[in-house]
């Protein structure tokens, strides 16, 4: 019986294009990734239709989490020395008794959420381990509490620069926590804030959507 010879096909598949694409994607992700700064608390921000971008320099940020703990941070991507100046100024006005090394540590520290009395022991811990350090939050009351002084002294350090004031709150936080933060700003004669939110689209059919569409077509 004549045997039917099945031609032996090579199982070798050329994967070069596939690999090319894979590396292209890899390059894209490397370029597009911006590591978010580490924060001592996990915050889920609410959504809003606002499209204004978040500044990364010359801004003060107050964060509050779902349990009402309040954190303060100075945003200064461009010039880390600003943060050093702030803590140095704080050290003088509030008699914190910080050492040079502790003040240098503040430069790399994420948001601070301890009362003034606990600041020295927090800054004695390297900034990289702050997220494991249990921070009780900055004490607040209706008059602004210690947050008032943080804001006042930080604003004083920036003297003359146009600062932005960011408020980042957790979805589940209660309104009184937000109000107390606002009060601390108000006591410093600051009335204009930017609340950090995640972007969502304008609802279809709403007046806002119509306005935005008109602006878009008018702009071209």
């Amino acid at each position: 019986m004549p045997s039917v010879k099945i031609p032996k096909k090579s199982t070798f598949v050329d994967m070069t294009p596939f690999v090319d694409v894979a590396f292209l994607i890899l390059t894209f992700f490397i370029m597009a990734t911006k590591f978010k700064p580490e924060e001592p608390v996990e915050i889920v921000t609410p959504n809003s239709v606002s499209t204004k971008e978040l500044p990364d320099s010359d801004a003060l940020q107050v964060t509050f989490d779902s349990t009402g703990r309040v954190f303060f941070s100075v945003l200064s991507e461009k010039d880390p020395n600003v943060k050093y100046n702030v803590i140095k100024h704080m050290n003088e006005t509030r008699n914190l008794g910080l050492t040079e090394a502790e003040m240098q540590n503040f430069k790399r520290a994420p948001a601070i959420g301890v009362p003034f009395s606990g600041l020295k022991s927090l800054l004695a811990v390297p900034a990289e381990e702050h997220k494991n350090y249990k921070q009780p939050g900055i004490p607040l009351d209706t008059l602004g509490g210690e947050l008032f002084f943080w804001i006042r002294d930080a604003v004083g350090t920036f003297s003359g620069k146009q600062l932005k004031y960011l408020i980042k709150g957790d979805n589940e936080a209660k309104y009184p926590a937000f109000k107390q933060v606002l009060n601390a700003f108000k006591k410093n004669e600051i009335f204009k804030f930017q609340m950090i939110t995640a972007l969502e689209d304008a609802p279809p059919g709403s007046e806002l959507e119509i306005i935005r569409k008109r602006e878009k077509s008018g702009g071209h």
């Binding site: 050329d14 994967m15 070069t16 596939f18 690999v19 894979a22 590396f23 994607i25 890899l26 992700f29 490397i30 597009a32 990734t33 911006k34 590591f35 978010k36 921000t45 609410p46 959504n47 809003s48 239709v49 606002s50 499209t51 204004k52 971008e53 978040l54 500044p55 509050f64 960011l166 408020i167 709150g169 957790d170 979805n171 589940e172 936080a173 209660k174 309104y175 009184p176 926590a177 937000f178 109000k179 606002l182 700003f185 108000k186 009335f191 204009k192 804030f193 930017q194 609340m195 950090i196 939110t197 995640a198 972007l199 304008a202 609802p203 709403s206 007046e207 806002l208 306005i211």
Partner: protein, 203 residues
């Protein structure tokens, strides 16, 4: 796996006295490189945050006790929105009546909730609009847009309660942007409103 292979290279005729050069394979195993590549892709996909955060502007008024510094709102154009727990919203138009008959409740439902209330209110304010001297100023501010004055009497007063979440507060401010309401203020609840909400919620 992917590899670079150099084709045949035949054509050399063997002959006497021709030394045969040892042919090295150019076949390169790229498997480890590709493995690493995909590992990195996976890593970057997981760590990357695609939606960059945005900011929403909020202007608060200066606290003032002086009567003449406070902004007066026309009763016909006022809408008071109160936020309570469990995403519940209470609202009333104009002034709260003694018998609380205009005290209504709604929620954040995009189709039937507070947005509809705001749109309806805006519509009725625009219908009731009467031209007065203040309009000229508003026109001038908006490059002579005559429509800009129509809703000038509309003022929404936002009153988040103690149990309202931050999300609710941001959402209601967002509704102002969505429905294009220009005049709104965030203030505290009155005692009368507080008790009314407590009574409605049954505690």
């Amino acid at each position: 796996m992917a590899s670079i292979e150099e084709g045949g290279g035949g054509g050399h005729k063997k002959g006497p006295g021709v030394k045969k050069a040892k042919k090295l394979s150019t076949h390169l195993d790229m498997t480890p490189m590709v493995d690493l590549g995909f590992l990195l892709i996976t890593f970057f996909i997981f760590t990357t945050t695609m939606s960059s955060p945005t900011t929403m502007e909020l202007y608060m008024p200066k606290d003032t006790d002086k009567d003449d510094e406070q902004n007066k709102a026309k009763e016909s154009g006022a809408l008071t929105v109160m936020l309570s727990k469990n995403n519940q919203i209470y609202y009333y138009e104009g002034q709260l009546k003694e018998d609380a008959s205009n005290f209504l409740s709604t929620n954040f439902n995009p189709a039937t909730g507070i947005r509809k209330v705001l749109i309806d209110k805006k519509k009725s304010v625009i219908e009731a609009h009467q031209h007065d001297a203040g309009c000229e100023k508003i026109w001038a501010k908006n490059n002579g847009d005559k429509k800009s004055c129509l809703d000038k009497d509309l003022v929404v007063v936002i009153k988040p309660g103690e149990l309202a979440t931050y999300k609710n507060t941001v959402d209601i401010l967002d509704e102002m942007t969505i429905t294009n309401i220009k005049r709104y203020a965030m203030v505290d609840l009155f005692e009368a409103e507080k008790t009314l909400i407590d009574k409605t919620e049954g505690n």
